[in-house]
Every structure is written in C-alpha cells, then in structure tokens.
C-alpha cells in the first residue's frame, strides 16, 4: 500500500464525506431550486452543507457561494472584484500565488490593469507593510494566499484589511491550503473574500466555495438562473456540496488535534531526513508554516528523478506544479524566494494530512533517505541538468 504524502494536491476522501455521499445517492433526485418536496429535501441538504462550511471560516451561511473548486473561487474573486470596480486600475498581489490566481492576474494585466506582485523574503513571507504601502485609491483588490501551496508559509495579514477598507479596495484571501488545517476566521482577518477548496481537506475534487462578505461588490462570471445569490448561476454540485459540508465539519471538529498530530509527524519526518541526508534544505520558515507541508531541497539529485524513484517505492510526493504534458516545471515560488534554478529542480514537496499515520512516516523516512542515496549515486546532478533549457 502506497504512502500518500501529497495532501496539498488533494486529500483522500474523509469517511464522513463518503458517508454523506452515500446518503445523497440514497436520496438523490431533487433540484434545490424546485418547489416540490424532492426539491425541498435537496435544498435542505445543500443549506445544511453551507452552514457547516460557513462555520469552518467563522462566516454567516449566506456569505458562502458554492463553486467548482479553488480555481473557480479565485477566478470569481479576482475577475469579480476587478470587473465590479472597473474605474480602479490596480491589483496588489505577490509573486508566489497559485496558478489559479496568477493566470487571472496575468489576464487582467493584458487588459491593461496594473498588477503589483510583491516579492517574498527567503522564507516565502510577504511583508504586510509592503502590501499596505502598495495599496492606494486606484486599487480595486488585494489578493494573497494565506498558506502557500508549495512551501506552506503562513502569511501575516496584520493591518492589510484596515488599509484596504480605508482605500476602498477589497481584500481576497486564498485559503485553499489553510482552511481545514489551521484556524481561518474571516472577521479576525477582516477580509472580504476567501477561497475554500473542498478536496484539500477530504471532500471530493470538483467542489469549493468562496466567502463573499458583501455580494454587491463583485460581479458574477457565470450568468443564468438566480442561484447562489446571483453570484454563480447554475444548479450547484449537490453531491459535492453535501460531501464538502461533512468534510468541513469533520476537519473543523478535529482541527486542533489534527494540526498538532500532523505537526508532530512532519517535524519527526524532517528531523529523520536531516539526519539521513547531509545538506538537506528546508524551503520555508522553520516555524510559521501550515503543519503538514515540507518543501525540501535534496542535494545532488534531480527532483524529477527522486520523485519517480519514490513513486516506484510506494511513496507519493510532488514537485512544483505539473504541466499539461505531465512532466514538472521548477517552482516559481522557490525562484521568487531567491532559490536558484538548480535548487528548485532538486526540490520536492511532501504534504501530510488527516489520515497520515506515525507508521507511514517512520517507513517514509527510511525509504526517502535510502532512495536519495541511490539516486545521488547513480544519476548525480550536473550543472547542465540543473540549469535547464527552459525557465
């Protein structure tokens, strides 16, 4: 049985979500928008799920909009805010955002908007003072990830919400990797929009949500029926929403216990690997990460080679972001943190989750160190591989 350490790509389905899906299958058939009783049952299931997801981030249920996932939530937040405030020409963001924010921002830029991409420090942290400085009266939106998907760095949003509000800008937080893993409280942050991704905490892929503080301030991308308070036309993914509600409740109920248990396991894995792999580098801060994520630079090997060798030994991890062809590109996050292309090519992301066991971490520590030794001996990195032909 493989050891799955790629929860940041997607967590296995939680049993509570699976149970909720079975209930849905047994009682399928209604459209939540219908008047009849089948529709009423479907509507109740959908709204129960909305309550649970709202609770995970300290929101009111009516502020939760179901989407198809984190990517759609980021698109709705970014385009929705920018299009609604079309007289404002500037968006403040960072150089380490997920592609589902990066690409919408690139598109806005091609349409003539100014995009400020703040550079992080070597730990992947964006100084909140630099964000505050960048916000002005032309700013429509501030969009920042809460926990970085590749290195796990948690951002400090101190003072950003106040500055955004006083400038009349919206503040969007991409909490795809944070929600369900660390406390997320929309009022404590003071933000206006929050991206939530279901499959990062044990719902199936294909369901997500966007917290919207004030629906009047964003424009919809999908047009059609009056679903989701007019912000997202189309019959919602009912099965996904129900499962996401169950997963959100399970993750929320267990949050403190799970975070502490997973933090202990990832700390143990890091110290075992440091002992077994001389020169191993941790990308991201020693403290101040989400507890499940380790991004490591393995000296003397290509990450791609180590990744495949580990998969053949039953340890499933990841590197950067997969490209369409299925090979991997060096991480833009690591490059923005000041790592060399060679370091980026030698780095892998290991992400634990709700079902990771101590026995798995014990086994993985041995396997990773052993496979690293073999790959380093048989396919040592030369400068030519490491530098790469493409950026």
């Amino acid at each position: 049985m493989a050891i799955y350490l790629d929860h940041n790509a997607g967590a296995p389905l939680r049993p509570q979500a699976a149970a909720a899906l079975s209930l849905f299958i047994a009682d399928a058939g209604g459209n939540p928008a219908s008047v009849h009783r089948a529709g009423q049952r479907a509507r109740r299931m959908l709204e129960d799920a909305r309550v649970r997801i709202a609770a995970l981030v300290g929101a009111s249920p009516r502020q939760i909009v179901f989407t198809s996932g984190g990517t759609e939530s980021n698109n709705l937040a970014i385009f929705g805010a920018a299009m609604n405030a079309s007289l404002r020409s500037k968006v403040v963001s960072s150089a380490i955002e997920h592609s589902s924010a990066r690409e919408p921002l690139g598109d806005l830029e091609r349409r003539g908007m100014e995009i400020v991409r703040l550079t992080p420090d070597s730990d992947g942290k964006i100084a909140s003072s630099s964000v505050i400085e960048a916000i002005d009266s032309t700013t429509s939106l501030v969009t920042l990830g809460m926990a970085n998907s590749e290195v796990g760095t948690l951002q400090d949003f101190e003072g950003i919400a106040e500055r955004a509000r006083s400038a009349g800008a919206l503040f969007h937080v991409d909490a795809a990797q944070a929600a369900g893993r660390v406390p997320v409280d929309v009022d404590a942050i003071g933000c206006d929009l929050v991206t939530i991704s279901g499959h990062k905490f044990g719902a199936p892929a294909g369901i997500g949500a966007l917290y919207v503080r004030d629906a009047a301030r964003i424009a919809p991308l999908m047009h059609g029926g009056p679903h989701e308070r007019g912000l997202r036309a189309g019959t919602p993914n009912l099965a996904g929403a129900i499962a996401m509600g169950a997963a959100a409740k399970a993750a929320g109920d267990a949050l403190a216990v799970e975070a502490s248990r997973i933090g202990t396991l990832s700390g143990l894995l890091l110290s075992r690997l440091r002992a077994g792999i001389p020169g191993l580098g941790l990308n991201g801060p020693e403290f101040g990460r989400i507890p499940n994520t380790l991004n490591l630079t393995f000296p003397g090997v290509l990450g791609e080679s180590l990744l495949i060798a580990l998969d053949l030994e039953g340890v499933e991890v990841s590197m950067g972001s997969a490209c369409a062809a299925g090979s991997v590109e060096p991480s833009h996050v690591l490059r923005a943190m000041g790592k060399s292309a060679a370091q980026a090519r030698s780095s892998l992301r290991i992400s634990l989750g709700w079902n990771t066991t101590a026995a798995e971490i014990d086994a993985a520590a041995d396997i990773i160190a052993r496979v690293w030794r073999r790959v380093a001996a048989t396919e040592p990195v030369t400068s030519q591989h490491a530098a790469g032909a493409a950026p």
Partner: protein, 369 residues
C-alpha cells in the same frame, strides 16, 4: 524478482508494442516519455533567448503512450530532458549546418540521450535494461560479445542509427521489435487493443516540424553566424549567390536558383569561404572517406588492420563494399572498392559485415583517389 526495464516511449506504435511485448514476457516494465523540445514555438515566457524549438513530444503523443501503459498495466512517467537535448542534440544540429555539414540528429539523440542520459535515469530507478522500439537486433555470440545486427525487416532496419553502442550499452539494451516486420507490429498492436495501432509513422526530424531545416537553423542561431556566399561550378565560375551554406547538403539539386541545360547538384560545401560547388550528376563521385569519432562494437577489431566491410554513408543509401582502416585518434580511412557517390560531411558512416554492424563514425571529408 523479474528484471526491470525502462522503455522509452514516444506514443507511436513501435515503442508501444515494444513495451507491451516486454510486459507480456514478464519484465517489470517502466514506461517513460522524454520531453525533448518545446511543444509550442512561442511557449517560452519572456527571458528565454529565442522562440525555440518546434513541435514534438506533444501532449497527444504522451497521452497515447500513457494509454498504452494503462492498458498494459505498468507505470508511466514523462521525464524532462529538454536541457540535455537542447545542449547535446539541437545545438550540435545547428552548429553542424552552419559549418557546412549535414548532421544526423537521430544518431546524436541515441548516443547522447537514449543510451547515456536515459541510462543514468534507468540506474537511478534500479532498471536492469533500457528498451526502445528500434528495428535492430542484439545477439550474444559464442565469443561472449554482444553483436548489433540488422533488423529482420530490411525496409525498416534502423541499425544505422545505433552504431555508437558499445559492449556496455549493448549488454543492457533490448530491441523487442528486431525480429518483427512493421506489419506484424501493427497486427500485434491491434491484437493487444492498443489505440495507436494504426497511427502513421513519423517521417521527419522530430524537432523540425514541416522539415524546414534552413528556417530552423536561422531561428536558432545568431544572424552573424549565417554564411551567405557564391555558387560556383567546378572551374570556379560564379553561377549565383546564395543566402547561407546551411541551406545546402551534398547531392542536393533543388533550390540552387540556377537555370542551366544540364541538372546541377551540390558537390562540395566550402563553409569558411561560403562557397557551394555544383556539378553534373556524373561528377558526384568519391573514392572513399575519412571518418572521425569512430567507434567499433568489438574492441579487438582495431588491431586487425584493413577490414573488408560494407559502408552505408546515408541511412537510405545502399551499402558500398569498402576497406576499413582504423587509425589513431578515433579516425578511420574508408576506401571504396569501386567509385562511390559523393559523401556528405557530418553524416554517419556505418560499417557492416553481413548482417552485423561492426562500428561507424561521422564523415569528415571525401578522399581523393
């Protein structure tokens, strides 16, 4: 535990059947597709020097390979060798054309990528063998040496492209299609239910879509390295001007821009001067050649003096009887038994004895009688 083999898969029918056969034979198969060049000419973001490298290794090709792996139930990965392919194959290809030579990138790719870089990856993955869908055979003789042999299907034989393989490489390489004809391979693919059973063969150099080498060379080199010049006849009379020596290969007839009664062909490319020498077909002959970067499959062969061989000076040329003399510094003198066609510097020349490849090298120049 069964032997592990890393199979290089392109998404075409040959490498797919090669992988499937090995899987059926009980090998522990790992499929890999190599990403060698950019799939889109302008895919590179700002900062990369040139809009480099045409269409190959496309998403669709990799998906075809992936489907075969799923159907035959073995793991499959796409690996990124763009840096190595760029530095060792494409840069060499461009430099050779600019120098008035005609490169053979498939030979370079086999030598530098498939049987070198891919082999170190195979070792990292604890593979015992590398396999490809090449049409060629490897036999182990009574002398315990490995012999590289022509394929059973003469019309598909690809042993020419594999001459650089030495004993170390031959010992750890499998060519499952060596005894099959192309028709048999396609039939086998259909029997196995492979979706790419009737996919057309690729005809061109994978990274030069459309086969426009001259344009590719121009797009991938500095403007000042392009060498325009004169087209001369054998007596030294200027017949026309040309836009660069990289646009020509020995034996070429089309694209000379000369209207004469008698058809003229490129006989010689003098890259330093920028001159292209043309001649009627009857004058396109040579008596032999000097080869460089010569390797032989049998390490003892060097001590045997003149060896009677048949030499192939281009992939599609019939072999020419010749005498091979190995010299120091990886060079060889090849004297044709009778007058042969003009040779093309840069192309591979491969030495055969009957069915066997005994070695080969790259053509440096023709010899005078």
């Amino acid at each position: 535990m069964s032997a592990r083999v890393l199979v290089a898969m392109s998404g075409g029918v040959d490498s797919s059947v090669a992988a499937a056969i090995l899987r059926e034979d009980g090998y522990d198969v790992i499929g890999v597709a190599m990403r060698l060049a950019e799939p889109h000419p302008n895919a590179s973001p700002v900062g990369n020097s040139s809009p480099r490298r045409g269409t190959c290794c496309s998403h669709d090709d990799f998906e075809d390979a992936r489907r075969v792996a799923e159907r035959m139930d073995f793991p499959f990965y796409v690996i990124d060798l763009r840096a190595e392919f760029g530095a060792r194959v494409i840069d060499n290809f461009v430099a050779e054309y600019l120098g008035g030579r005609t490169p053979n990138p498939c030979v370079m790719c086999n030598r530098e990528i498939k049987f070198d870089r891919l082999w170190s990856r195979a070792r990292a993955l604890e593979a015992d063998f590398i396999a490809t869908g090449h049409y060629a055979r490897i036999e182990r003789g009574a002398d315990n040496l490995f012999h590289l042999m022509r394929a059973a299907d003469e019309s598909k034989d690809q042993s020419y492209f594999l001459f650089t393989l030495g004993q170390d490489e031959l010992a750890r390489t499998l060519f499952p299609l060596g005894n099959m004809t192309k028709d048999e391979v396609r039939k086998r693919a259909r029997e196995l239910g492979l979706a790419n059973a009737d996919k057309p063969d690729s005809q061109e150099i994978c990274f030069v879509p459309g086969g426009d080498y001259a344009r590719f060379v121009e797009q991938n080199s500095m403007p000042e390295s392009i060498r325009p010049g004169r087209i001369l006849d054998a007596a030294g009379n200027e017949l026309a001007a040309h836009a660069g020596v990289h646009r020509f290969t020995v034996g070429q007839r089309r694209g000379l821009g000369i209207a004469t009664g008698e058809p003229l062909y490129v006989r010689e490319i003098r890259a330093l001067a920028g001159d292209i020498v043309v001649a009627p077909r009857t004058e396109l002959t040579s008596q032999g050649l000097i080869a460089e970067r010569v390797s032989v499959t049998d390490p003892e062969a060097a001590s045997r003096g003149a060896i009677p061989v048949e030499v192939k000076i281009r992939y599609r040329h019939p072999p020419i009887p010749a005498n091979l003399n190995l010299e120091s510094g990886g060079r060889a003198l090849v004297r044709f038994a009778r007058s042969g066609p003009a040779v093309t510097p840069g192309q591979a020349c491969v030495f055969y004895r009957g069915e066997e490849v005994v070695g080969g090298g790259f053509i440096e120049r023709a010899i005078e009688a």
